[in-house]
């Protein structure tokens, strides 16, 4: 009896030791959305940490030196790119003294390098156009098509860094792709009756999502990116609402919703507050749930 108990506990101990907690790849990402995708692809073989939270505007994260400590030991840094993090990430990377995560380094992956961009500026590229992103719109992680490309790039880079687990990353990548494709069917079905309808958004954060969903942005609360809406602009949006039959305004929860509320008072449109990223609200706990919330919000905004 005692021998069986000892053997059983010894076996349990062995099992605990042999489980893949040997050396989890330490992946640091700039946003929670990227961290969520890293977790999908990496599973228990990676430890994903995000430098910012889903409740924060990713343009205006503080370059807190404590974040440099997180970068110091990173085995891989994944950032969005297209200047989204240009206001805070570069000095943290230099401060971290981690040579491989410098731009172009072996342990640096910029998600924007593997996705085709939208909103490439075709007019003047200067700040009279507001807070312009000259390399394209960086808010592409709301797009089920592009998130698969990003997941593929993450799997490829993880396989380079941790070749022993490469087959597992490929397996998880296929599983994630299958999950997204299955969910897409449901989302497309929900959105199909509303194809071609218009919404208004606060900032140009939903370009890719609307493109995928077959919807349009009739206008933006911000007259130019990063510029707060003056009353004259809100008034002109009221005319747009009537002309385009807009029923809803989508505002991320880190923006001030006062101007959207003014538009609602003028025209009766619904103001729908959405999470800005995974983790932006309690129900957006992983990437698929985040898209669930966005699709539901879109459907609400066009009815």
């Amino acid at each position: 009896m005692r021998r069986i108990a000892t053997t059983a506990s010894f076996a349990a101990l062995l099992a605990a030791v042999a489980s893949p907690a040997t050396a989890a790849v330490n992946v640091v990402t700039t946003t929670e959305g990227l961290a969520a995708v890293v977790r999908e692809v990496g599973g228990e073989w990676v430890k994903a940490t995000a430098l910012s939270r889903g409740i924060q505007d990713p343009h205006f994260v503080d370059a807190n030196p404590s974040l440099a400590v997180k970068l110091r030991n990173a085995d891989l840094l994944v950032d969005v790119g297209m200047d989204l993090e240009i206001g805070w990430l570069p000095p943290l990377v230099t401060q971290s003294r981690n040579p491989a995560i410098q731009p172009g380094g072996a342990r640096r992956l910029t998600a924007a390098s593997v996705v085709p961009p939208m909103d490439l500026p075709t007019g003047p590229v200067d700040r009279s156009q507001g807070d312009i992103h000259p390399a394209g719109n960086p808010h592409f992680l709301t797009d089920p098509r592009r998130v698969q490309l990003v997941a593929g790039a993450i799997a490829a880079r993880l396989s380079e860094i941790d070749p022993a687990s490469a087959p597992r990353y490929q397996e998880r990548l296929q599983a994630f792709r299958a999950k997204v494709l299955a969910a897409e069917k449901g989302w497309k079905a929900e959105l199909a009756p509303f194809a071609g309808r218009s919404v208004i958004t606060q900032h140009k954060t939903l370009t890719y999502l609307l493109d995928w969903a077959g919807l349009k942005a009739a206008g933006f609360m911000e007259p130019k990116p990063g510029v707060a809406p003056p009353p004259s602009h809100v008034a002109s949006l009221a005319a747009t609402v009537k002309a385009a039959g807009v029923k809803g305004v989508l505002v991320e929860n880190y923006y001030d919703r006062r101007s959207a509320d003014q538009l609602r008072d003028l025209t009766g449109v619904k103001v729908i507050v959405i999470p800005g990223d995974v983790g932006g609200t309690k129900d957006a706990s992983d990437w698929v749930s985040y898209l669930d919330v966005l699709v539901r919000s879109l459907v609400q905004a066009v009815q």
Partner: protein
Amino acid sequence: MVNIVLLSLLAAQVVEPAASAPPPPSTAPDGAEPQPFPTGSYNVGTPGGIPVGKLMLMPEIAVVADGALGYTTLSTEQQELTAGPIPQHKAWPMLQEVELAFQATVDPYVRGDVFITFTPEGVEVEEAFLKTLSLPWGLQVKAGQIYSPFGRTSQLHRHQWTFVDQPLSMQRLVGAEGLSGAGGDLSWLSPLPWFAELHVAYQATSPGFAEDVKQLTGVARLIQYFDLTDEATLGVGLSWALFQAEAPEQWKNLAGADLYVKFRDPTSRSSLVLQGEVFGRQLGGQAFSEARWGGYGQAVWRVDRNWEVGARYDNAPAPVAFEGGTQEDWTALGTYYTSEFFRLRLQPSLVLLPGGQTGFQGLLSFEFTIGAHAAHPF
């Protein structure tokens, strides 16, 4: 020649097909699978800078210009040992500074940063240094013309100052424009789970207002940051500078302690920063007990993306004419930001000099940045 190439590349980008149509397939390396979604041909994913600029391997260039209208009731004598004194009782327009910044990675091992300032007093190299990127053991070397790793506010460039001017306690006890000079700064990021960085520097600096006299200086600083909560961070710094004093009126020892607390609402642009520093300076001919002390405390509230208000109390040695006395300044600040690249500041202050003398100063300043997007200071 460079401009024509740049313009034709920009033109090529402008006549790209509309954003929703995928761009033509890029040439994939031999043997690689053709991508279902071709990637952009201008390396659009690289972080920072403009794609075409990176293609040309140009540094990031920025220009910051700072102008002000100043008014003071203080006399020249009462403004001695103050950077940027102005004529009494006049609304005096000034170009405070134009800073030119050139920043780039030199190679995988080193980056280079050069900052040139133009002021009414002339042209100066504010900083020009190399910084290593890949030393082992958490080390980093910054060498060239550098700000000494001393204190908190003395290391900041003008466009990083919250207030229109530096506290007088810093000007008179540390340096008119902070403490800087040619030399090197070796820093070590400790393996502790919080941010703890130790700096050791060796430079030739001109502390105080003695511009032409340089002293060999050794500086050490320990700076630590603790995240008290998700929304509050505490920074604690201790600094020491040791000078080779060849005359009794030259600096010998300088001690500094600084405290910084930031409360930041993550769901908005609002934040509250409390900051204070204490300086103690011993001259060559003095005993430790004769060291002069001074310091400041400030509170700055960033209300939202457009507005910021602040208040500062400054306790400094009084100007030369008030031998041994102490000066107190009470300063208020209101800032309006039209964007991250332009701010307008109004800064009135009440000056209390020894012997019951008082003065009033007002500064109205604008500052704009063109070119590369500078990182926001913490």
